[in-house]
Amino acid sequence: MMKYKDVPAYKPRAKWNEMRDETMKAPFSGAIDCDIHPSAPDMPALLPYMSEYWRDQITNRFIDKTPFTFTSYKPQVPINGRPDWRPQSGRPGSSLDMIRSQALDAFGSRLAICNVIHGALGLFNNDMAATIVSALNDWVAAALLDAEPRLRGSILVLADDPTHAVAEIERLADDKRFVQVLLLVMGERPLGQRACWPIYHAAEKNGLTVCIHAGSTHRQAPTGGGWPSYFVDEYVAQSAAFEAVLLSLIAEGVFKKFPDLKVVLAESGVTWMPQFLWRNDKVWRGVRPEVPWIDRVPREIVRDHVRLTLQPFDAPGDAATVARVIEHLGTDDILLFSTDYPHWHFDGTDVLPEGLSESTVRKLMIDNPLATYARLS
């Protein structure tokens, strides 16, 4: 793991408490924001990156006039766009100017990792979905990464079609500005299953982290109890999906098979983790014969392989409770700074929960991201 002293250029700022009145509350500049969401463009912007056949298909069938908006990710729903980050027209996060001023400059971030998610993942025709996703990845490189040197990319792939996913990873692996592979937490099957392993193999081989992000392709009910009536209930249920997916990765032995793999759980809520570890450390002792490849407590596997992006940080606003939760977590090595821009989890620049120590803040903003993403160091 990279030590603090090895970290290149960042300027420690004055003491935490003295920064309160300034625009940016963080005591350090040069943070690495590990989860921002530039909006995916409308389909016409992606057509130039497609073959003639697919351009014809998509235009002749009027697919280019459809919005590709996820049910779980509608831009007008309050949580998906902070009011002061919403433009007069268009989607939040839909221009470079917005991204620069709202996501980068406002937090003094040195780098930000773009997780651009596209509704094509919800299609059933995998060839069409793969075409759109590949075009999107090319668009990310051209429209975001070429245009703004502080941005880094994620390779969006079809988790439900690992053959396509591996081909896409290999196609883009030489572009070192892509730092991770991007999957949605809820898809066709639990992501630890062997069908998905080629994705992890390709990621590990190419020094790419795997990011599992909130969201669902709605192949099945988003809760074990069925389909909730309300958006808010379904959003809350995302954290239960993260718990299940992390246990799937652990139980199936993904981290045993791919010892260099790092998995980032993005927009998971964070505070579910302590109880997940308590419970599974205990249960593992009772079920070891079923999963003999797990040769150490889940806590240690998580510490070595799994990271959580900061926002949303599901905790009350008081510093004492937050400090207690971090103590329950038992480590601050697994937290990664994120704004989840342009989603609405905090106001102003209050991106850091009260109650984090200065050393924790420094780690999650700078040291931990550098240790997580091989391609950033």
Binding site: R189, G225, A237, A244, R279, R324
Partner: protein, 368 residues
């Protein structure tokens, strides 16, 4: 997952002084035929010819096989029949030696909550409740019943609750956290209305089959290790559904008991609901309080399987955040991960906290 031996007389005496109320023990029929005396010939014939019809692949077994004896303590197997099917053994192994003042029975395995045939479900429900009374509750005054309902067949369930509302041998209604629709949804409100009228809490305990959905939003898990954890997600979803669907606004007297689903996730679930409710409250204007207030007011948690934190104080934090008055001791006898009342808490409890968790909270909730 610790096992009582209690050979030492002094230990036995100490255990008995606890005077505990155990909110989760499992009686079992020797065989499904035990229910037949409480069925008409039409449904006996149906049981013999067709039997249960549930939403899962395998009949009479777990699709995620358990680690021991189908999830039971091997030392709890009587000479005949499955674990939990012999009252004498239950007395000898648990009720007598552990000083159990009262135990709340949670009968499982009858397939009542999961049955798809509506009228067979009703016949099973009636028979399972009659069997519970005759074979257990009427045999030992310490035992109190949980009224089983065929929860996907709403009218039948309401009828059963109304029929037995005045029978103090039943102290709660038991339902499955694997429903056809999220548990707070209006589909189930007639059941909650009847429960409220009868003054009975509604408890949720894990069962095998369910409403036909994978046990989490990511799909079916592979291993029992994961299936065991799916109880956590299912109950989180159930609570969140009760809150956001407005069930607690609709039924302000409704009490919900989460049995064997763990509890240390409750604080972070409340924080999560509160936080995102703030952004999204325009969607749910029927909520008059913040989500954590509903949980604090309406929901109780049994303790087994007890989470074990590295630092005992961390578990005290969790219990304090939930509320010491909302925790109910449970052993889960005769399951493999039984919590022995003497050893379940690996941390300091004040005498008052001990009395609340082991006895007083259950006394108040169940009016014992």
């Amino acid at each position: 997952m610790n096992v009582a031996t209690l050979n030492d007389a002094r230990e036995r005496a100490n255990a008995q002084r606890l005077a505990i109320i155990d909110c989760d023990i499992h009686p079992a029929p020797k065989s499904p035929l035990d229910l037949q005396p409480y069925m008409t010939q039409r449904w006996r014939d149906h049981m013999n010819t067709f039997g249960g019809h549930v939403r899962q692949a395998l009949v009479g077994q777990e699709a995620h096989p358990r680690m021991t004896a189908r999830g039971m303590r091997t030392d709890a197997l009587p000479e005949n029949g499955p674990a939990g099917s012999d009252l004498e053994l239950m007395r000898r192994q648990h009720l007598d030696v552990n000083g159990v003042e009262h135990a709340i029975l949670i009968p499982l395995g009858g397939g009542v909550s999961e049955e798809r045939n509506p009228d067979y479900a009703a016949a099973l429900m009636h028979a399972a409740n009659e069997w519970q009374l005759a074979s257990w509750i009427d045999q030992d005054r310490r035992l109190k019943g949980s009224l089983i309902v065929s929860q996907e067949h709403i009218e039948h369930s309401v009828h059963e609750i109304e029929k037995r509302a005045g029978d103090s041998r039943f102290r709660q209604i038991i339902m499955s956290p694997k429903p056809v629709e999220p548990l707070g949804s209006r589909r189930y409100w007639p059941i909650y209305e009847a429960a409220s009228r009868a003054g009975l809490p509604v408890a949720f305990h894990p069962v095998l089959a369910g409403g036909g959905h994978p046990s989490s939003g990511i799909g079916w898990p592979t291993y029992y290790m994961q299936d065991h954890y799916s109880f956590v997600g299912l109950m989180q979803n159930a609570i969140s559904s009760f809150v956001f669907e407005g069930a607690f606004e609709q039924f302000p007297e409704l009490k919900v008991v989460s049995v064997e689903n763990g509890f240390s996730w409750a604080p972070n679930l409340c924080w999560r609901m509160d936080k995102h409710f703030e952004r999204m409250r325009a969607e749910v204007p029927h909520l008059k309080s913040k989500p954590s207030d509903y949980v604090r007011h309406h929901i109780w948690f049994t303790t087994q399987p007890m989470e074990e934190t590295q630092d005992p104080d961390h578990l005290r934090d969790i219990m304090g955040w939930i509320g010491w008055d909302r925790l109910l001791f449970s052993s889960d006898y005769p399951h493999w991960d039984f919590d022995d009342p003497r050893y379940a808490f690996r941390m300091h409890l004040t005498p008052q906290e001990r009395a609340m968790i082991y006895r007083d909270n259950a006394r108040a909730l169940y009016r014992l």
